[in-house]
């Protein structure tokens, strides 16, 4: 302990530190070992991927996931450069005449892109990472990605990564390697987020100025994460500056943002607070449609965080987050949705090798749909509340050997729907579906070790026990008959706390990394994952009011087996990296829906569900020239994602039980990014994206019934595709420093979204004109060039 923290405030970040190990006279060996742990100055946590380089003799090493590093050097004087993207560089001059221990403390920095040519350093090196399918992206990298109306956006940036796609423009959520949007575990600073979007999917919930980076686990998922089939998106908030006060903000044409940070007790604790708000109404006002003129569209979010170092070995903090979206269409219908989260943590360092972490978070997601006209004025509301805790212990035995174990609890309470009249004139009958409660208790352990220099192994296991408990009523159905109101044979009543259903899950996690020299590696991974809560939605992209459904008596948890293998290689001392990675996912007990499923306010929603299976497979190619003035990044993914629902006595099938493409099956996806740092103050970025059109279902004939002409009869599900999607975006940023106010820095960003005005199809609909064939029409929402300008400032 003492080894870490006496250095904390004595180390000056910009200056060179001197250290001597042993006596020159006694040095007899050809090499000595320099080792230590690299930690974050604010949290005390070990840092992964820190480059410790002795450039003069071309020797170096990277810190492991525990922060440990190990470097063999000849005796003598060495100049060591320590760097990690997002942290101030450290410099040491050491005299090494014996094995030595050099702890290193890294201080996070606020990125200032006008100052330097940013090079994406080892932290994001694919070869160095111990598991495959892990993507990391900093705010700086996000700023190089596509920006709608000039907004830096996590979800839009995410979609430029290989294996990540979305159903379409404005979809709420994203799809990773063929998984549903609800199969992604989304965390912001450790707190669970159920709906990561603002503005019905056009923006993400995350305030860009408060983020340090995000990590997306799409392949090997560590054992500490569970509860979702597809991926983990871990969005990390940065900590406030413990030394000085800073303000940062931006003014855009659709929204503005502001953040403040600074010390509470200098060097010991800090705060960070930020807010964003939209003003989309002016866009509605510019519409020629009177209904839209009378409409409203508004969102905001507020994030606050406090971090403190309580003792030299104890760190603690908490964060709060709230977001609100409000939409009203004319004087007819109104939609609100809100997210609240709160999270607290304590981190205790025990000796040099052990760290104990306790996290607790609470959250709520609530959505309300208002009918504000006529005799049906009413509000429909769904809600989910949760309480989570996690206790985990990380023991680092050696640089290459660590062990993590922990326990986790997740209590969820879902209100699937209430309907209430808005006033006395409304004739709507109040209705409330019973609240559902579920508790998941999990324990996990993971061991990471190396076998020689050639193999890194990570073995993990996670065991979860899920209980759905009362009060509640369960309908029992005749066997061998489809579940419906006509096949109910009995019902079971459960009292408060009584167990309705219980499921257990054992989830093995294995990752192997075969090192083929310094710059090449083969990585393999397998993990099984279970999901005990799913979003019940039969639309291509779930609407904000879609309900979350806990596993229960009738709905068993779905699970997936995920396999991946990849080859990773760096060229030119890591300036260029490339990879090719293949994956296969088997999804069991996949939920599908009957035609015209009635999913809202349905007490026996199981009667509307079908159970099938899914599979997705693909291959991802990646290339990145990540340093220099000209930087290129590109990826191409070929993948398929398919569903199968077989017909049996208890349910009808889909497409006669054959495999069919899911709503987000896009076989070909290509992304390309070019970044040019013209000079320290000006840069340009260009993004191109292409993807195959998503599947859709088209009519093949029609009939007339009563006064309804041309009732369409549809083809097999998803038998056709909408046109392919492609788009080119451009951004130019120029930065300034105020001569009058020393700390004032600002930049203007000009962005053009959809540079060549491609009319990409948001939706396709069909019409039959008199005496003509049925014709397909597409609606292009962002079907023109979208220029925008954003002013950013900090002081």
């Amino acid at each position: 302990m003492g080894l870490y923290f006496p250095l904390l405030h004595s180390q000056t970040q910009d200056s060179v530190q001197y250290q001597t190990f042993g006596q020159e006279e006694s040095a007899t060996a050809e090499e000595y070992k320099l080792s230590g742990t690299v930690i974050n100055a604010n949290t005390g946590q070990g840092l992964t991927g820190v480059a410790i380089a002795v450039e003069a003799i071309s020797k170096g090493s990277f810190s492991k996931s525990t922060g440990r590093y190990n470097l063999k050097l000849p005796p003598g004087k060495h100049f060591i450069k320590v760097s990690l993207f997002g942290y101030q560089k450290r410099y040491f001059e050491i005299k090494l005449y014996a094995d030595g221990n050099l702890p290193i403390v890294m201080v996070p920095v606020e990125f200032e892109m006008d100052e330097v040519v940013i090079e994406d350093e080892s932290a994001s090196s694919q070869v160095k990472r111990e598991i495959g399918g892990l993507e990391r992206m900093s705010v700086l990298q996000m700023e190089r990605k596509a920006r709608l109306l000039g907004e830096t956006d996590v979800l839009r940036s995410l979609q430029s990564l290989s294996g990540v796609s979305s159903v379409g423009e404005g979809a709420s959520g994203f799809n990773v390697r063929g998984g549903n949007a609800d199969e992604n575990l989304i965390l912001q600073d450790g707190a669970l987020i159920y709906n990561p979007t603002h503005a019905l999917g056009f923006y993400s919930l995350f305030h860009p100025d408060l983020l340090s980076e995000f990590q997306l686990y799409k392949g090997g998922v560590p054992a500490k994460y569970g509860g979702r089939l597809s991926s983990v998106l871990d969005v990390k908030l940065r900590e406030g500056d413990k030394e000085k006060f800073n303000t940062k903000g931006g003014l855009g044409i659709a929204s503005s943002r502001l953040s403040l940070e600074g010390p509470i007790k200098k060097g010991k604790s800090s705060f960070l607070i930020g807010a964003r708000a939209s003003y989309l109404d002016w866009i509605l006002q510019s519409s020629r449609n009177i209904d839209l003129k009378k409409s409203e569209a508004f969102f905001y979010d507020i994030t606050a965080k406090i971090d403190a170092q309580l003792t030299p070995s104890t760190f603690a903090g908490f964060s709060l987050f709230t977001s609100y979206d409000d939409f009203q269409f004319a004087e007819e219908v109104k939609l609100d949705y809100e997210t609240y989260t709160g999270r607290a943590y304590v981190r205790q360092l025990i000796g040099k090798k052990n760290s104990l972490n306790l996290d607790a978070s609470v959250g709520r997601y609530v959505s309300s749909l208002f009918d504000v006209q006529g005799n049906t004025q009413s509000v429909f509301e769904t809600k989910i509340d949760y309480l989570r805790f996690r206790l985990n212990d990380l023991i680092s035995f050696t640089e290459n050997h660590s062990f993590t174990f922990g326990i986790e609890g997740d209590y969820s309470q879902v209100s699937p729907g209430t309907l209430n009249p808005l006033n006395s004139e409304s004739q709507i009958l109040p209705k409330e579906l019973p609240i559902e409660k579920g508790l998941t208790l999990s324990a996990y352990a993971e061991e990471k070790f190396a076998i020689g220099d050639w193999l890194n192994v990570s073995l993990g296991i996670r065991y979860s026990q899920f209980r759905n408990f009362g009060p509640g009523r369960v309908y029992l159905y005749e066997e061998e008959l489809p579940k419906s109101s006509f096949s109910v044979r009995d019902s079971l009543i459960f009292g408060e706390g009584e167990e309705i259903a219980s499921y257990s899950a054992l989830e093995p996690r294995i990752s192997l990394k075969l090192n083929m020299g310094e710059n090449k590696a083969i990585k393999m991974g397998y993990h099984r994952s279970y999901q005990f809560i799913s979003q019940i939605s039969n639309t291509a992209s779930a609407a904000p009011i879609a309900i979350w459904q806990l596993s229960n008596y009738h709905i068993e948890p779905n699970f997936a087996d995920n396999y991946s293998i990849g080859y990773f290689q760096e060229f030119l001392d890591g300036k260029i990296e490339s990879s090719v990675e293949a994956f296969y996912r088997d999804i069991h007990r996949l939920i599908e829906y009957k035609d015209f499923a009635n999913l809202l306010l349905n007490e026996s929603v199981e009667t509307e569900l079908l159970v099938g299976q899914g599979r997705s497979y693909g291959i991802e190619f990646y290339f990145n020239k990540k340093s220099g003035k000209h930087q290129f990044e590109g990826n191409y993914t070929y993948s398929r994602t398919q569903r199968q629902v077989e017909e049996n006595a208890e349910q009808g099938g889909i497409n006669d039980g054959a495999w069919y493409p899911s709503n987000f099956d896009k076989p070909h996806i290509l992304n390309f990014n070019y970044f040019y740092q013209i000079n320290p103050r000006n840069n340009i970025s260009v993004n191109f994206t292409y993807s195959t059109g998503r599947p859709t279902t088209a009519p093949v004939s029609s009939f007339r019934n009563s006064n309804i002409l041309n009732i369409p009869v549809y083809s097999d599900r998803n038998g056709f595709r909408i046109p392919d999607y492609h788009r080119l975006d451009f951004a130019y940023t120029t930065s300034f420093r105020s001569k009058r106010i020393k700390r004032w820095k600002s930049s203007w960003t000009f962005t053009v979204y959809n540079l060549y005005g491609r009319r990409n199809a948001y939706s396709v609909f069909f019409q039959q004109r008199p005496s003509q064939r049925v014709t397909a029409f597409r609606i292009a929402v962002l079907g023109t060039v979208f220029p925008a300008i954003t002013y950013n400032f900090s002081f």
Partner: protein
């Protein structure tokens, strides 16, 4: 929860509206394969004594012949059997091929089943359906809403929309399922500059083509339905003299309500991200020899409450400009010289017309 479906659409429209200045619609080509024609039945009986009809045809297949024409099925044997074994045979109309007719009235509470034998030997049956109890229409109410819009010349223009609302009784025992149909008839006065003689016409029109008005009264509180909106239409020159609404309120079975709700969902489908996948609407008809064969359409058994309601400038308390004028330089329309050329026009005043 069909109450909310149209509303969900609206807020999604709003989402699009935020980006409306960039939105555009254009035609695209999709290679759609032709399907097989399917047998279609459009049948209806009610508790009112009238000529009921059942139409048989094949569905129109895209890309085969004229896509809009449903080839009628002639020469079939068509009848309805009730729950006590009576069989009501229908005869093919001499005026409309494939349409089979009979004067009859059903009884509330009785079960009816359609039986059809096609010329090729195919048998079609409907599931037995009980005729629901009638719920009487009790009143009507009109609401006028002024709507402004920007016309093609870029100027702000105003129209008045007439909202038609009805009151109805609700069975307290069996909560009813409703479907409404609305038609209209209006008085039309010829007039033109230098007119020597003019006549009046009474023009009938269907107001609800491709529109469905449905209600599941289980979601409604009390024994009375109040101010349920069933129609909105432009308040224009048709109301200059006298307009008569013909409103039919059908009390239908739950199965029929579900059928029309599903069709309503299909008609609302815009193919957007927030649309459920379109499905096959299953009716209550089947082929007993091959229950997997899809028979399109529905055999409807409903009780009906029918009312006529008049509406005129006095009731609306508003002057409405007639379409025809003797003033020169105002737009002149052919029907202002001869109103009998308008489809649905009659010269004889209906006996129920208010003088």
């Amino acid at each position: 929860m069909n109450l909310f479906l149209p509303n969900i659409k609206k807020f999604l429209l709003l989402g699009l509206g935020v980006f409306l200045f960039s939105a555009c619609i254009d035609e695209i080509r999709l290679d759609i394969d032709a399907d097989q024609a399917k047998i279609t039945v459009d049948g209806f009986i009610s508790d009112s004594l009238r000529v009921h009809s059942i139409s048989l045809s094949n569905s129109s297949v895209f890309g085969v012949g004229n896509d809009n024409i449903q080839p009628p099925i002639s020469g079939a044997s068509v009848g309805i059997r009730d729950g006590v074994g009576n069989f009501f045979s229908f005869e093919e109309s001499t005026e409309a091929e494939g349409t089979y007719e009979r004067l009859m009235a059903g009884d509330v509470g009785q079960t009816y089943q359609l039986e059809v034998s096609l010329p090729d030997g195919t048998e079609i049956r409907s599931k037995p359906i009980i005729m629901p109890r009638r719920n009487e229409l009790m009143g009507i109410d009109f609401e006028q809403i002024e709507r402004t819009f920007i016309n093609t010349a870029g100027n702000v223009s105003t129209t008045v929309e007439l909202i038609v609302k009805i009151d109805s009784e609700l069975d307290s025992q069996d909560r009813p399922f409703f479907r409404w149909r609305t038609g209209g008839q209006f008085e039309f006065h010829e007039n033109y500059p230098m007119a020597l003689s003019t006549k009046w016409c009474y023009i009938s029109e269907t107001l609800d083509f491709n529109q469905l008005e449905l209600l599941d009264a289980r979601e409604i509180e009390g024994n009375e339905l109040r101010k349920k909106k069933i129609l909105s239409m432009a308040l224009d020159s048709r109301f200059a003299w006298q307009y008569c609404f013909h409103i039919r309120q059908f009390s239908i079975s739950e199965e029929e309500y579900t059928y029309w709700s599903n069709i309503q969902e299909i008609l609302n489908t815009g193919g957007s991200l927030f649309d459920p996948p379109p499905g096959t609407v299953k009716g209550n008809l089947f082929n007993p020899a091959d229950e997997n064969e899809q028979i399109l359409g529905f055999f409807s058994v409903a009780s009906v409450s029918y009312k006529r309601y008049f509406c005129n400038p006095d009731i609306l308390n508003r002057f409405i400009d007639p379409k025809c004028s003797a003033i020169p330089f105002r737009p002149q329309f052919p029907e202002c010289r001869d109103c009998s050329i308008v489809l649905g026009s009659e010269l004889e005043k209906p006996d129920y017309w208010i003088p």
